[in-house]
Amino acid sequence: MKVEAISLEKKYHGAVEHWQRHNFKDYETLLDQWEKYFPTDERFCLCAKLELGTSDTIAIGEHQGEKKRLEPEQLSEEEAAHLLAIIKAQASTEFGSIQQHAGTLERADDDQDRFWVLRVMAEELRHGYQMLHLLLSKDWSHVSRGVTGEQMVEEILSMQTGNHVLDAFNLDYDSFIDNITFAAIVDRVGKYQLTMQRICAYRPMADSMPPMLREEAFHLAAGVIPMRRWAQRAAQGDPFITMTAIQHAINKWVPRALEMFGDERGGETNVKFGFKDLKNREAQDQYIEEVQKMIRDINLRFIRARFPAYAPEQADAALAELERARGTHHGVRREDLLRTPDRRFFRRKGEPAFSMVGVDGEPFTDAEEYLRYLSRHLNEGYVASRDMRNYAEALRGVAAGTLAVKDAIMKMPKLKRVGGTCPCSKGVRWVMDGSAADQAASA
């Protein structure tokens, strides 16, 4: 694989570095300690990377077989506008995850885990930089409604947790368990998006994907490997990490991760335009299968640690029995193991939005009962959050018939910037779409 490394124009590169100083304060620590934690690995490069020698033919959709587009103007207006939105959303996620990780990074109880997450953060910074390169290296003015490249960068770099494009990036972490679970669960959606976009009909986007995907492989490992070790510690009776705590984090992130694929009924436009090779539900189905495998492996790690004399086949049999009969196995209950939440659990977007379904698929009819159930299946810090309060209000409205689901989806308040655009500014507050503050924010 041959890769071309590109730097942004000086003022934009400087803007990203300025953002990093405010949002990613441990960046310099990572670089200083690089040799200790990643000896002989290539040094980190804050640059855009484009894979060379990729296919120049559109692989899917209504332009299949044609030459890939090299300029936004070679796309139709509808296609270019659609792709511009994808690139901006992708950029938002990259910068957003760094802000989330930074909040609880220092609570890691293991230095290796902390430095792995720091590396993940640095590479997300590079991915955000990559998306800015896509926005700035070509002319999008015919579909940007008068917004210049400079303004687009300013908009992205001024986003804070709460006003990013996707919900998964608008939730604060409650502990370092969230850092790790997020890497295992939410970064996995990132892998799917990047993999699907490898065939993108717009070649600069397609060429951006392989270097990002290579880095994403480690991000998933930085989530899964600590989770496996935590399961071992939990099985051995470590009082500071429990399977319940991990499960509560899974319950928090899986619903938001599923929503990152978009509505289950959609995705045809991406395929038609040749931007992705799977529709939303197809990708989501594969993702769920992968999460189920991850969780099963972690459960086996737990069982082997609890019963060290077990052969692999005995551990398999014990897990199968617990999953089937939901009883106990020498003191281990089904509830002591992890499980993948039902795809309808705690959803607020997509096909099952605001349906009341439990982790194991059990239906609820009463909103208050469902909210009490959620409070027992999510961690205390999150339950007490603004996000949960907003969700509860919308759910009560839907359950009472006073709010249509589509309106409930739109009604969720967001944290928006209403002050300046410099990331140093703390000028953010909760506003409702369409309120005076919202209008002021978007003016």
Binding site: M1, K2, F38, T40, D41, W116, R119, Y192, T195, L213, R214, E215, A217, F218, L220, A221, A222, V224, I225, R228, R229, Q232, Q286, E289, E290, K293, M294, D297, L300, R301, R304, P312
Partner: protein, 157 residues
């Protein structure tokens, strides 16, 4: 992404292969050592993702080959592919899976500019040494040297 094939296939290593690798190693060595494989898989996924390969049969991982592209070590400035660890489920041997994983790794190394593939092998392990020779590897002018530090020092005369 999950595969649906029922035959065999070779694909790059990912973090969800740890469990299968632990099992293969346990079948071969009789020792359950997940920590070692978690560390090694983490290492290769950050060091050179795409280099290490696994073999699937019927949708199940039955073999692995781990390695990476390196340059600048031991005075070897030119990039070389290094094969460090491999294993195949004893029930799946003789199906050419090792050769196929090796071919995939070689293709990755060549794409990265490597002109040679290197490894170290215990000469007494005829099974492994024979396998590597069958793949086309031959003794190198570079010699592996070592000195035991837990042995009694030789008395000077």
């Amino acid at each position: 992404m999950p595969g649906t094939e029922t035959g065999t296939r070779i694909r790059p290593l990912d973090e969800l292969d740890i469990d299968a690798i632990v099992r293969i190693d346990e079948r071969i060595s009789g020792i359950y050592r997940p920590e070692i494989w978690e560390q090694r898989v983490g290492f290769y996924l950050r060091r050179d993702p795409g280099a290490s390969q696994v073999a699937e049969a019927g949708g199940k991982v039955v073999g692995f080959m781990l390695g990476d592209l390196r340059a600048g070590e031991f005075g070897l400035e030119e990039p070389s592919g290094w094969i460090e660890r491999f294993g195949i489920d004893p029930d799946q041997r003789g199906k050419d899976l090792g050769r196929q994983m090796f071919a995939a790794m070689v293709a990755h190394f060549q794409a990265g500019g490597a002109r040679s593939v290197r490894t170290l092998v215990d000469r007494k392990d005829e099974g492994v040494a024979g396998f590597l020779r069958a793949l086309g590897l031959s003794p190198s002018p570079l010699e592996a040297l070592e000195m035991r530090l837990d042995a009694k020092p030789t008395e000077s005369r």
